[in-house]
Symmetry: C4
Subunit: 362 residues, 4 copies
């Protein structure tokens, strides 16, 4: 079947483009407009800094989720295995790539279930697109993909931008919120709603929270741009119209820093916010937590490191942890939650955006 | 007659310069300072998005006017024909280039009337400069040019900047408003007053609305710069003084985004605002409508596409429509008028301009 | 005498450096942050625009003073002659370069008096530095230099920045204001106090106005930088310390736009403000008048043109006049004073500067 | 002993990297956003400007401290000797480099005591890191290093950023403030607390002042970046993780201008503020004093000059003094303290930072 080949092709296209082309948004995360105020007298010992936390009912070693972007192919399996082994070693959570391929091609399950085999004790998050959810009449298949990796939570990713630019995109988003709400009631495990590089707005987050969602992954603008990925694919396929559109929407979205702050502004006490979208080092993890996230997620850089070797994955995790602890040391924070009370200054244009969006006077 | 040759020469000069030289203003439209807030849960189906509307008493398929910049010569006729055929195929309006040449050279009428022959069912807009209007004692000749294309409306373009820089420009603008008002009373069809790349200010728009004008085409700064066009012509003619002046006024004018918002601020319920000036893609059409326009117009890119071939014109229209619908999908807008209620943020310097001009407190 | 040679040498050094080296401030005039609002319906005839005015008791054809920067040498005489002939032809005022050399070297008088011979009917302004004035016991020598060109006014230029950077600079500025006041009482002709590229502040202007001065020439930052000129001279003379200082103070001063507005804020009804410092075209003349100047002055570009030939001087004057009239046409101003009521927007950083300096709320 | 070699190696590494690599922060001091308002009529004689002051009980000739960055090695001794001779000649204070090496290697004392031998009459400041202080059980060794140079004051430098990035860094900062307070009570000479390129915040300064500290050296961001220095060392040692961290924290800190103003905002009448961090010329000394410092310190440029020869050190001091006096002349300041009342404008982003940090309305 033509469509079947397409989906495998797209999976590998995405990896290749991710490694070889510039797929970054021209727009940054705006985290550079969040500036910590240096504390010369932190009054703590770096060794006493504690970044462990509970997440999805398990104890983890750092507020960091590895996002796997892939699965379904041989290459995907190898990458997933390396990432899961590192996640297990460092005891940090992992979110698998979209399991859509698993719904139609049972034989691809191995490329996902390898994750749980390699990482028996950490929180693992299943992952499916909103378009698949909308088309489902019941949630049986969702139970299967959750079961295949013994997932601790399921993420449904919202990707209207990607669906619009992708030549084979599905753009029926009616009643999505209702479907999300039903799924949430049905599931035994927590449901995470995540964006895919364009950011959750305060209105969307508010609607999700009112619908009972407790876990929000903002995935804002500033990192990998699906518009750029699809722009490159469409160009290769000589689909001029789609490639033009990819170019036009290259900077579409809410920068990560703005998205985190907007979501926090409408969150309640039980909301868990995952800060993601273009986060590349431990200082940015610290900033995302300071302005409102509970934990951060990083995906694309891990894909590149795992494409190289396991050593690079481990070294990157260690650097991230070291940079996060350094940021906490230099702001005098002993625990993750102390970052919320740290001193920082927000500069324009992020400040201008927030003044308008959060109706506060400066 | 020397002057006759001149006008034909100028027509072809303009096309050649448009294709070969950089004639863009250094100043942008400032539409990039209008940022839509992404909606991850649009709750609509892309297929249900409806961008049809009524314009000049006819139903059209998209809020988009093709602006033809040419006419009068053989090359002009060919370009006009291609544009009219595409406009008819996609059922969108077309505005012809300045018909001044038709006033003095009846034999050029064919290059304009070809438009109506190729596009029998769409709204077509006749077009004449304010300088010609000012010099007229009666409106007989205007009736003729309207009749020659069975126009649904007449646009009078205001081009004081062009007249000043053009070596043969006419710079008597006294009593222009009175003349416009008289013409408006005389005409059986709607009168559109349009700028030519320097933008309508709130005061000018207000005066025109008070004089009874219902259709305003802002044509702001940010696209083709007539100062740049005339700068290039004057340079070729070794008219050093005029070319210096062209250079000095290269960025003269009100950026398109500012001009739309200023005009909307003084508009009344029956005012129809055409957003134009440097609009190049469907996202910019969506932005111009969100901040106050009812419909957009694009000219210079169509000239380039039509110079190539009809296929390129059609493909460009399709891309524009697709991008406009994508923008509406990503902001959750089902109808054109929903864009008016969409979420967006205005950043400096556009915001600074508006704070000053519209006397609002930020 | 060594010192005699020095002064002639410096005169010619200045011309050579002016022609061959980059002597512009890195800082602009900030006039680009003053943006006129385009008027599409000016309701006037370009031909009716009247830019004549009275200045120093004589009728002049444009609000423009030619600043001669030179004198004292053969080259200076030639340049002065060309500029004076053009000033006479176009009936615009001229200010001669510093006449300090004339005080000590009577034989150089010819290089200045040539100006009056070539321009019998226009306002001519004599020119001397504040350092010379401070050292004088009586004003006899000043009477002589005024008489030598039958000056209509005398300008005393304030140049503390230049004196500090110039290797042979004189930096005794005590009691300068008192001396200025005495001279003002003594003189039969108006006294103009002018800066030399670093701008008059509102406090300095206020003190001068309170001391009875009616003519203030702001000469702000943004054009020729004396720090750059002296930096180049000091470098040639291998005076490392002085050349470092020149570099450090390259951007010292109040940008022209800020200086004009500050001076206007403290001016009274009889104050005449000359807007100068980096003004290069007629649009900038219009802007300087709109924000507070009565007349503009341009010096350095005239030096370059006159170094070439008289034709270039005349062509430059014509372009300036044409651009000024164009600016007035495009803002609907029939007379110079209408520019004061024209619409314009002031953007940051000029706006930020003014908010702070003029204690207004934005 | 391995560790012994290391410390000597690091000392020489630092000098070599300082001379050969780019070790400047990408972030500036933000002093360029402090703009003096030019005074065309200063009403003073440059020769009457008095920049002498009292500092640490001695009369000094300029508000300038030479910071020596080195010591402990042969090269360090030579550099220290040249700097001390110049300091003595111009009668300005000198602060030696970190004397940590002296604590463990008595034989290195000569490289420090040479300073007092060469400069018998000026204020000399001893210098030790906070990490060493924290590890001490009593202050006997501190007395020794003070005695070795007959120091007029002791500086304890806070360097949490450096300790974190340095491969052999010590990152126990608990109870630092208490230890500082005890040392302050113990010492017979004044205690200076200084940062090392990341700036004192208002909270840190406030805590130090409340603990009885009278001398604060802000050492803000904008000059030499220890992150850059350690980044280069770590790279040479192929310590990838540490070099990544160096890169991530390259711009960490409070810009010097912001740090001076924050510290002044919490200072009391007896607080002496040393403005340092990226100050490179006399205009910047003047600005730092105008916004709140009492005296400035410059280190890295002196290291480079002394590496060349004594003549360059002297010439640099003369230029700094000349530029400082020039700045005072051009703002009409006769004495150092007059700079506090001089006119200046603070532009964004420094202004935005201060609006947020000092809770003032603009």
């Amino acid at each position: 079947m033509e469509k079947d080949k397409e989906i495998f092709q797209r999976k590998d296209d995405h990896i290749k483009i991710s490694i070889n082309e510039n797929i970054n948004s021209r727009n940054t995360t705006w985290l550079e407009y969040v500036r910590f105020v240096h504390n010369s007298l932190p009054e703590i010992n770096l060794k006493d800094i504690d970044i462990t936390m509970e997440f999805l009912g398990k104890q983890i070693n750092a507020p960091l989720i590895i996002g796997s972007l892939t699965g379904g192919t041989k290459l995907g399996l190898e990458i997933n295995k390396k990432l899961a082994e590192a996640a297990e070693k460092y005891q940090i959570p992992l979110m698998v790539g979209s399991q859509r391929i698993q719904l139609e091609h049972l034989e691809t399950s191995k490329s996902f279930s390898v994750v749980r085999k390699s990482a028996p004790s950490i929180p693992i998050i299943a992952n499916l697109g909103i378009s698949q959810l909308i088309q489902m009449e019941n949630f049986t298949s969702i139970e299967k993909i959750i079961h295949s990796i013994e997932a601790d939570a399921l993420a449904i990713h919202l990707n209207p931008l990607q669906e619009i630019i992708q030549p084979e995109g599905e753009t029926e988003f009616s009643n999505a919120l209702e479907k999300i709400s039903k799924l949430n009631n049905f599931l035994q495990i927590p449901l995470i709603i995540k964006e895919t590089g364009a950011g959750l707005s305060k209105n969307v987050s508010n609607n999700l929270i009112k619908a009972g969602i407790k876990y929000l992954d903002v995935s804002g603008l500033g990192g990998t741009s699906f518009a750029a990925v699809e722009y490159n694919r469409a160009k290769d396929q000589k689909n001029l119209s789609k490639s033009n559109i990819g170019n036009t929407f290259l900077d579409w979205g809410i920068p990560t820093a703005a998205s985190i702050i907007e979501t926090r502004a409408v969150a309640n006490d039980s909301t868990i916010i995952i800060g993601s979208g273009g986060i590349r080092n431990g200082l940015e993890i610290a900033k995302s937590i300071a302005i409102g996230a509970d934990i951060s997620a990083i995906a694309q850089p891990f894909l590149k490191q795992a494409f190289n070797n396991s050593k690079d994955v481990e070294s990157y995790i260690e650097t991230l942890i070291s940079e996060l602890k350094s940021s906490m040391f230099l702001t005098g924070c002993k625990k993750i939650k102390d970052l919320k009370k740290s001193e920082y200054v927000i500069l324009p244009p992020l400040r201008t955006w927030l003044d308008k969006r959060l109706q506060k006077q400066r």
